[in-house]
Symmetry: C2
Subunit: 230 residues, 2 copies
């Protein structure tokens, strides 16, 4: 069937974002396999004959982080003829937003995984640098309009933590008072009654997401970030 049509190799590559409280980070691997052994790349793998793309992306993320139920989005499919010098290979990029404190560090280490902030990021193989740039642009775009930033934070978090995350994403300072008002006006946060015990000065209120409202309102426009900053 489909005689005369050619078949292609198809890979998936994951752009894995995390936030350590100060900087936005990227989980990369130093390849201990061919091709491009010894160089840095995104975590990836080939799509299997009996696996959907969604399942494949989850499998590949899980192989490095041990995580399941992670926020992932398909970003773009790369199909340049020369993108992989070994053989014509398509790659579908997925981005994943994970809580950096929850992943399996031992597993990541065993796969030569390492977290990088953007100013330390090494050059990557093939077109993986483009994939990262595109994923970063997508994160900036989408986080300005929709509440997906929460996916990078622990279940309980403070407004100052959330603000630091947004400042890391946009690499720009935000007005504390306006930011707080904007976030609270979405009505997505629930006061847990607890306070952040790690603070060295005034302890901040710990909030959690109102999951029902979060899911209902996810696709509505929120304008979290001032127009000029995005």
């Amino acid at each position: 069937m489909y005689q005369g049509e050619s078949k292609l190799f198809v890979a998936i590559d994951c752009i894995i974002f995390g936030f350590d409280g100060e900087n936005l980070k990227l989980l990369l691997i130093k390849r201990n396999f061919e091709p491009e052994l010894g160089k840095w790349s995104l975590m990836g793998g080939f799509v299997k004959e009996n696996e959907s793309l969604e399942d494949g992306s989850k499998r590949i993320l899980n192989e490095l982080t041990g995580l399941e139920n992670v926020y992932m989005e398909q970003i773009e499919t790369y199909g340049g003829i020369e993108r992989d010098p070994m053989a014509r290979t398509l790659s579908i990029s997925y981005f994943a937003l994970i809580n950096i404190h929850e992943h399996d560090e031992e597993l990541a280490r065993s796969k030569n995984g390492k977290w990088f902030s953007f100013d330390e990021k090494p050059g990557l193989i093939f077109d993986h640098n483009h994939m990262v740039e595109k994923a970063m642009a997508h994160l900036r775009y989408k986080a300005a309009l929709h509440p997906l930033g929460f996916e990078l934070l622990p279940e309980k978090f403070t407004i100052p933590q959330l603000q630091k995350l947004y400042e890391a994403i946009y690499d720009k300072p935000l007005d504390r008072r306006n930011f707080s008002r904007k976030i609270l006006s979405t009505d997505l946060l629930v006061d847990t009654g607890e306070k952040n015990e790690t603070g060295t000065t005034k302890k901040a209120i710990l909030y959690k997401l109102d999951k029902e409202k979060y899911e209902q309102q996810f696709n509505a426009f929120h304008y979290f970030i001032p127009k000029g900053l995005v």
Copy 2:
């Protein structure tokens, strides 16, 4: 190379949008080839061994419309295991916004192409209905924030025409005065000095895009459509 990895068929399907002045339309084909001969589907084709995805999408669009330099975007890659009952096949969907009066009608007819408005759209093969829905959602989303609607209009157009287009996209009436103010405030339109000769009452001003500003500001947020309507 990449021994042991499986290769897959890879197709491209195009969701082709046009606007006839009243309704948003979709260009579909009645298949005179297998599989699913005689049924309606999106225009598609297989990715060739020596062709990038971008080139493939342009080729496939051109085969049906005769057009080049069309606004296209990669939307999503579909990779469910059972999506094509003949063989495991990925499909990358692209959407195209064309000026409906410019395409090669003779060519489209020879390929069994036909324009449908959304209320007359037939059921489509495979997962093409999902592709259309997703593309439509993307058009609604993006047209609310960025000036891509112009791609569906002739080079010279009036503000009432543009409003009709937006009303067709969102299937909702818009306030004429607020819409006009919003569009003119973007500073993207240039008064050509001409008037629309086809009008039966007061003739409307024909504008064209300020191409330089259009390209510069394309990715900025515009909020063309009231929040609640999208």
